[in-house]
Symmetry: C2
Amino acid sequence: MAADARRRGAYSQMARTASGVISFAGGMPDSTLFPTDAFRRVLNRVIREEGRELLQYYPSSGYPPLRQYLSGYLLRFGLEARPEDILIVNGTQQGFDLVARTLLDPGDFVAIEQPSYPRAMQVFRAFGAQLLPVPMSGGGLSVDHLERLLGRQVPKLLYCQPSAHNPTGLHMPAAARRRLLDVASRHRLPIVEDGFDGTLFYGERPPVPLKAADSSGQVIYLGTFSKILFPGLRLGWIVASPELIERLEMAKQLADIHTSPLIQAAVYHFCRQRLLDRHQARALREYARRRNSLLATLGRRMPEGVTWTETQGGFSLLVELPEGMDAATLLPRAIERGVAFTPGAAFYSDSGGERSLRLSFSAVPFGQIEEGVRRLADTIRERRRHPDVGTRERGSAVPLV
Amino acid sequence: MAADARRRGAYSQMARTASGVISFAGGMPDSTLFPTDAFRRVLNRVIREEGRELLQYYPSSGYPPLRQYLSGYLLRFGLEARPEDILIVNGTQQGFDLVARTLLDPGDFVAIEQPSYPRAMQVFRAFGAQLLPVPMSGGGLSVDHLERLLGRQVPKLLYCQPSAHNPTGLHMPAAARRRLLDVASRHRLPIVEDGFDGTLFYGERPPVPLKAADSSGQVIYLGTFSKILFPGLRLGWIVASPELIERLEMAKQLADIHTSPLIQAAVYHFCRQRLLDRHQARALREYARRRNSLLATLGRRMPEGVTWTETQGGFSLLVELPEGMDAATLLPRAIERGVAFTPGAAFYSDSGGERSLRLSFSAVPFGQIEEGVRRLADTIRERRRHPDVGTRERGSAVPLV
């Protein structure tokens, strides 16, 4: 139980201040904003009305009304998908897993944005793939770099997060998206598009997902309710061609037969009653406030030589420390001063990123953001004055989200 | 939506009579016995009291009170497991998957009871393993045969269902279990024990699980709430050594991060309030009635030359047709006469089992069992008189459960 308590503690710490530490380390929604009670009422009704069917074995493809709803929901982002193009899965993580086991063989190459989401990298590696990093440029992956790479190597797929990129919070511009689709189509390179959500943006609306303009059927889109609703439901979806969906559905059958239909039905009714829309609007306002405060405070407080990405969506941004500084060495000092973050190296598939760190603002109470940034700035200044103090610590090497 | 409707229809057909067909084809609990309302009330309270934490990201190992509860629950069957020896997963199916991806490499051999559970075979094969069938004898796998096999080959693991074996419903005798453990220990052969549940028995209590007498730590025990409560929750567990549990937990993190903590907490409180015990007692009485009726009616109605296993636990039994008859060819004729079953070939890892068929009694209303057996007996008799009638049909080649 001690290990459990530690691990549970680690989660709460990521989200909220624990023992006085203001933590920018968790990439999760703020649970104090959760529409828990509304969800409870919906779930209650769903069990009352459909419980018997929803507690029995169920088809692997998912709860049909939810697939139907998603078909309409995705249209808001310009993405046309029929219910039969959609497979319900246990969050994006299971999406990675099913795609990897269906498409990858040991020794395959996977092209991947650098920096990128660590748990995606881990899955591709677990299935024996070798990662080919593609640096970012202008908000998204460098298509020039990708094209040169494709002249030398034949990756089995490309993984990217064109909107609300984790950790930078940037969107890939529309022109670069078009070029990317063109290049991928010419090279018959499947793209795994990690969709986050087109609604979680703070400045301009992000361009439509790659999948929306995917005339050649190259794009596999992964979506999730973890960011816009509840991570604990483990509910997400994959959009792909019906042929691929059928293969992914077979993989899903072997993985765990199906996702809980009770959870699926509850989320469906929650969405149908527009409760998701209401929650999203409210959460977005609060996340935007936090994001604006973080950006403003960074501008006011950070010493010269520190830069950061102007996050446009999602939950985080990436800070770059001055030359010669190392985020992992900084972390224990920062925690002593009462602030935590995620060292950036975990987001790099090779040895890069030592100078970078991720700040997630989504779960930090608005009133603590300025103080957290002040503590971080002080830590950086102190580090500059005493560059040999402290030992290197990667913290939890791979952030959970 | 048409395909969905068809698939949903297939499920209901397996369980209940549809268009007049009495179906013995589903290996699932009867949803009309589900304690849906009691579960609804528990879930309601759990969200009210712990909702915020249970809807957030959660540790992969599982909800600590549930692991604690299972530790006590398993003691009833003589199985001593500490909470840290237990990993919560999405049903036994995910247990197969995590074990296979953690322990198997392509080209490995897996020894497996013959007949056996098709979805386990599928998973091992999907990870590149080759199956080595071990025939059954005296209620469980033949340990003599296994020993001879181990003289020639080195399987990476053995998969078996020593209690309430699917499809036969038989228990492996205690003496054979002891010999099996001894042989496995001498050959350092890990055993994947598919536990079903020690409470679902109809005659004598089955001997304790292999895991209960596993002094050398060779046994990986898979348990599930799918049979004793609700399949639709997708909730099960693995018991293994702490070292292996740690590796399986890492695999679980990559597979889908964690199982819904909301579901875990609801089941925990359901169990704590003794609602599971109450449901089990009630369900067992009803399943026993159906099983007794099936055995009695088979005895009265079946033509000579037909034999069947005297099911002692679980949901089904295996019928053996007379020499020269084929269950897959019989099925379309049986459906015409208004009765369905699962052809036995799906439970065989090689080409055997053509003469066998599985009858699941768990989801057939008591009052329809006799009529169903009468129709099956008539089909067999007719087939004997006209052996060239009908075309071969495997039905759904692999039964879902």
